[in-house]
Amino acid sequence: MSEEKVETKRRLIENGRRIDGRGPQDIRPLRFEVRVLKNANGSALVEYGGTKVLAAVYGPRDPGTRSIALPNRAVLRCRYHMAPFSTHERKNPAPSRREIELSKVIREALEPAVITEAFPRTAIDVFIEVLNADGGTRTAGITAASLALADAGIPMRDLVAGIAVGKVEGTLVLDINEEEDMHGEADMPMAVMPSLGLITLIQLNGVLSDSEFWEAIDLGLKGARIVYEAQKEALRKRYSSVE
């Protein structure tokens, strides 16, 4: 406990190095694995350093209730949820206001990618479970969901790559971890369809000047490219070999 306290008092950036040893523009080690669940039509396990997120896709399937079906497209249903053991203090499993908001913005980050017109009157369900939270869980969730959608064989305009940019002690940094998020000045999650140059999610919690904001966008777009390459590699690895 006391060691933890000492840690939070440490400077977040010293000699150009972040608390976990990264440079400002370094992303944590990425580990993406596709088709990790038997029952789901598509699934993915995604890690950004200590952040670990599982996503599963069911569908296109019968929406269950007629009232939510659309005649010209599939509806997307999305749930972002944190496991009770995923955080330092146990998280109550009931959906929080934060999780309700994030479920909405994540759905809206995936909507532009999914070719829903191909499946009228159906529902595509995207379930995201945060297993271990160390910053950037919504963006990792989007990366995982997009991989799971691809794994389910659902046609998409592009993969969606998620990445969070932050401002920590005056420096813009890529892929912030929890400690940087808690003590930093800004957290700006982004989701990008890199080949199309489209930003499907952007939020800013914190304060940035105009020039910092544009610098942060550039950094986020650069980071999304790296995530995107790792996503494609994970799909290639899963599908290029014959079993």
Partner: protein, 282 residues
Amino acid sequence: MSITPVDIPVIPALKRGTILSLLSRSTRIDGRSPSDVRGIEIATGVISNANGSAHVKLGLTQVIAGVKVEIGSPFQDTPNLGNLIVNAEFVPLASPTFEPGPPDERAIELARVIDRSLRDVRAIDLEKLAIIPGKKVWNLFVDIYVIDHDGNLIDASSIATLAALITTRIPRASLNQDKGEIVIDRTTLEPLPIRKKVLTATIAKIEDHLIVDPSLEEEIVADAFVTIALSEDSLITGIQKSGMGAFRQEHLRKAMDMARQAYSLYIKKISETIERGAQAPT
């Protein structure tokens, strides 16, 4: 679980063609230019039982924001700060798409976006809302009540919130050393310690057209929205993209310029209202 909205009215959706052809000539269905905001009316002090309140009409959208203070305990991790709690209710009398019950994802999102726009920039100096640091603080509740929905609820709510906060008066509370209890002097009213005037400005994107302060008709056909929170010293204090579409970087550049313009118009209207209110006999 968040679900693709299905309650989109069919008739306005058919207006997409009309709206787009007008936009190609830089005009809008209600005659505005893309960077025009609708008419704004603000009345403050409309709720006598609230510590501060404002009724805002933004075009035909109407929102009431009420501020109430209560003495409470600080959160463990912020023992020396008062608490700011923002909540929004989309009550069913405001729109056929609003239903009774706990706030849905739209209301939760709106309240959280406004909360975040104020929090990190320390728009309100919450340290000054501590009565006995570590023990007793003011809880500052901002309740946003949407009463008629004609689009851009977020900016209307943001204007109402700021106008209500600026005009809020709270009783002086102090610690009686002898008795060790808090004394509330209801005859001495003090304004809130407001450090920055933060407002949101929302821009809708319809294909490659950007428009500020979308009406409901425009919202229904729009692809995506970006809400940008700004302070008077030009800081960006929050951003939220919403809607089913996406933005290019150059869209965001243009949206930022439009948001700064809208901020000036919104803040001017609030300042005029407050000044007028100060001059009026009470």
